[in-house]
């Protein structure tokens, strides 16, 4: 059960690992010495797992401030001869793309593996871009494992290959690899190399145009060597049921597991399994296509393998019909239904609709919501009151984090959500063109450090009248409370400086900075009114910071130091069934009884007490006397 135990178990142990833990183990087996990441679903557990074992192994593991810094840092370690990994979610690679596109020019020294976890179906992302295209754009080979065992094995192999080729490798697991737990057999651990030295070679590492032109030519030549190195990639590239001719299925990444299961159902056609979608190994593919007349490519998202396959067939003048997206489709992740339909249609087999039951009953939706005790609830509640009482027309320019959930009723305070840090830049544009509307950028602490600061500097420099509301809950909450520069601790639990957001804002030149406690609704509302009035009157940016710990962290600390959570209750005789606490404040710990009066579920209440403030009838009270130390756990 204990992650630490499984991840460090002896070679040949059979363990249950999540794909991301398997990648972490692969890094350990490869003797990696440096790992950096910015948290992002579905990639977070890679570096989270490594952080837990960092001091034991003596390796450096960090949460970087963003993906660009994570990749640059890993590159710095690699060119100093320490094997390094940078991990991120797929959209994180957009942030790191500037570094990626040039790293291929210089190449690397010790192995450098960039893991970008893809999220087809957008289970927790704003888009489902296919990062295999980044491989093409940047001349970086792409590996996509199909299950946790391969995720581990291929991570190790990627380090060896990267080092052999002096070239970065991009590894792209999807949600169904990263977040699938399965049986994994462990391999040998290589003792990590954690220290190295940078040997100067400035015609290689200094990308001034004269050097870059030279390196560009070298890169094109190197690419053919890289291509060849993917030709021998057994068993991760392999031809199954080779004795079967005429028809073949090609599948890459997690789609392979679906294709394989369906292939067994329909009678085991030739199945070409690919783990190297870019560059697609030509000789291997041609071997797979011997005596084949038609091929179906089963892959998620864009036709990356399909288009390369068509190119190979075209170049060789073969008469093989290639299909893919016309049967499989583009959007969303692979499912057995989808693979079955595509493969059966391609083979001309009938599609049997699986019978399933459906109840004739109307069910309420259950979207995710702010946790009981979440300080964001108080912030959004107070912000709405402030905006209403000033009779402003707000534009809520939102951002990526738990507070994105403010898009839902009853808050409705996220009008725009684009990408990390986007809230401030977008508000800047809104401010300069909108009339009578007040742009309010809403951003969390981790996102502020990640990509919010340049936007804020821009707002000061270009005199943008916006309110920037920073929801500082002292952690990267959405991905599971990873520490950030507001937390005072590093990924491995060491104490470090807190980077004070108010001081950052003041240093940039914001003249109006307020810090409020979102558990105090009245004070919060008044302070937000003051900041908003300033923006409207002075036509300058202001920063408001809601400072309160993430409820999950607060409760965890309380339990650890044995502080009893002061559970609240509704006084039956005072409650008038007005519904403010469960409809307007909408805490998931507050339920409605048949008589419409409120009732607080003790197992869910976290004792924040904000509902008591919102109750106009003074009907919500703590059950017991509150521990004196209670406030301290929320700091």
């Amino acid at each position: 059960m204990n992650r630490l135990n499984s991840i460090l178990k002896k070679p040949n142990s059979k363990v249950l690992l999540m794909g991301n833990e398997a990648i972490a183990r692969g890094f350990i087996e490869a003797g990696g010495g440096f790992a950096a990441a910015y948290p992002g679903t579905p990639s977070t557990e890679i570096v989270e797992t490594l952080a837990e074992v960092a001091s034991y192994l003596g390796i450096h593991v960090e949460w970087s401030v963003n993906e660009k810094v994570a990749l640059e840092s890993a590159y710095g370690a690699s060119i100093s001869n320490v094997r390094a990994l940078a991990a991120m979610k797929h959209v994180g690679l957009n942030v790191a793309a500037d570094a990626l596109a040039s790293i291929a020019y210089t190449g690397v020294r010790a192995g450098l593996v960039i893991v970008s976890a893809e999220d087809p179906s957008m289970w927790s992302s704003q888009n489902e871009q296919d990062n295999r295209y980044y491989g093409m754009l940047a001349y970086v080979p792409v590996i996509d494992p199909s299950d946790p065992q391969e995720a581990k094995d291929l991570t190790k192999l990627a380090f060896e290959l990267s080092e052999k080729l002096s070239h970065p490798i991009l590894m792209l697991p999807t949600t169904r690899v990263s977040h699938t737990r399965s049986n994994v057999i462990l391999g040998n651990i290589t003792p990590p190399r954690t220290k190295g030295s940078f040997i100067k070679e400035n015609n290689r590492f200094g990308l001034v145009p004269a050097n870059s032109r030279n390196l560009r030519d070298k890169l094109i030549n190197k690419w053919s060597i890289i291509k060849d190195s993917f030709e021998e990639f057994e068993p991760y590239n392999r031809i199954e049921n080779k004795e079967k001719d005429k028809i073949a299925i090609i599948s890459s990444g997690s789609s392979y597991q679906y294709a394989r299961e369906v292939n067994e159902e329909v009678g085991n056609y030739r199945l070409i399994k690919i783990s190297t979608p870019y560059p697609l190994p030509k000789k291997f593919i041609l071997k797979g296509l011997e005596d084949v007349k038609k091929v179906l490519v089963v892959e998620e998202l864009e036709p990356v393998v399909e288009n390369q396959l068509k190119e190979i067939i075209n170049e060789e003048g073969l008469s093989v019909k290639v299909d893919g997206k016309s049967y499989v489709g583009y959007a969303g992740e692979m499912t057995l239904e989808r693979a079955r339909k595509a493969i059966r249609e391609f083979l001309g087999l009938p599609i049997n609709q699986t019978a399933y039951k459906k109840l004739d009953i109307k069910l309420p939706l259950r979207p995710p919501s702010f946790c009981p005790g979440c300080p964001h609830r108080g912030t959004f509640y107070a912000l709405k009151r402030a905006v209403n009482s000033l009779m402003l027309k707000p534009i809520y320019s939102g951002d990526i984090g738990c507070y994105s959930l403010g898009i839902n009723s009853p808050y409705d305070e996220q009008d725009i959500i684009l990408e990390m840090g986007g809230s401030i830049g977008v508000a800047n544009g809104l401010a300069h063109v909108s009339e009578n509307q007040v742009p309010i950028a809403i951003i969390g602490d981790s996102t502020f450090y990640h990509a919010g600061i340049p936007g804020l500097i821009n707002a000061v420099y270009n005199k943008s009248p916006i309110l920037v509301l920073v929801l500082d809950n002292r952690t990267t909450a959405m991905t599971g409370e990873q520490p950030d520069p507001s937390s005072g601790i590093t990924a491995t639990g060491e104490e470090t400086k807190i980077i004070d957001i108010a001081k950052v804002a003041e240093g940039i030149g914001i003249e109006k900075v307020i810090v409020f406690d979102p558990f105090n609704i009245k004070e919060s509302t008044n302070m937000l009114k003051e900041a908003l009035s300033y923006v409207v009157k002075e036509r300058k940016p202001a920063v408001a910071i809601a400072k309160k710990a993430c409820a999950l962290n607060a409760v965890r600390i309380a339990n650890k130091i044995h502080i009893e959570i002061p559970i609240y209750q509704v006084l039956e005789n005072k409650c008038t069934a007005c519904g403010i606490c469960y409809n307007a404040f909408a805490c998931p710990a507050i339920f409605v009884k048949d008589d419409k009066k409120a009732w607080i579920e003790p197992s869910l209440c976290t004792g924040c007490g904000v509902c008591a403030e919102t109750c106009p009838y003074d009907a919500i009270k703590p059950i017991k006397v509150i521990d004196k130390r209670w406030d301290s756990v929320w700091q």
Binding site: N2, L16, W123, T175, R181, S182, N183, A355
Partner: protein, 192 residues
Amino acid sequence: MAMKSKLNIVISGVGGQGIVTLARIIGEAAVKNDVKVLIAETHGLSQRGGSVEVHVRLGNVYAPLVPKGEADVLLSMELIETARNIDYLNTNGLVISSDVILRPPIPGVKIPKKDEIIKEFEKNNIRYYLVPTKELAEKIGNYQSENMILLGSLYKYSEINKFIDMDSIKDSIKTMRNPEINLKAFELGSNL
């Protein structure tokens, strides 16, 4: 009778109810029995009190997700979520569900009553076991052990016992925090 070659379980509930842990215990036990297991989770937004599904597949399986209409068992920590996920069940599938209903925190939301849901199960000839997980958890003094009570019921009522032996499950539970209470909960659920 030939042993079934695979078992598809869909586990549903509400974020925070311990569903991921429940699935992980099954997974650990499967590995101990050298049985292939795939557990597909979706993290991120679903942790924040939203609907959660975890797919568990055992035996001769490759793809991590269970298709609609192919789950042998729908195991659920909350009754509205049970109703929502009924379409995963195969025609002979079995529901093992907590009888707990949790109101989604949406203004003015209307929720079905327990009886209405049960009536629908019967109308559709669905085989079901309702487990009073909350009541039982209160009895052993720990409302965070509802998931282990439900796991006990899964072991008792479903064919999972043909893939995994009980000792392996108990060994996995022993590695949890509060092993005594969780073992007690598992035993309570398997002796209903």
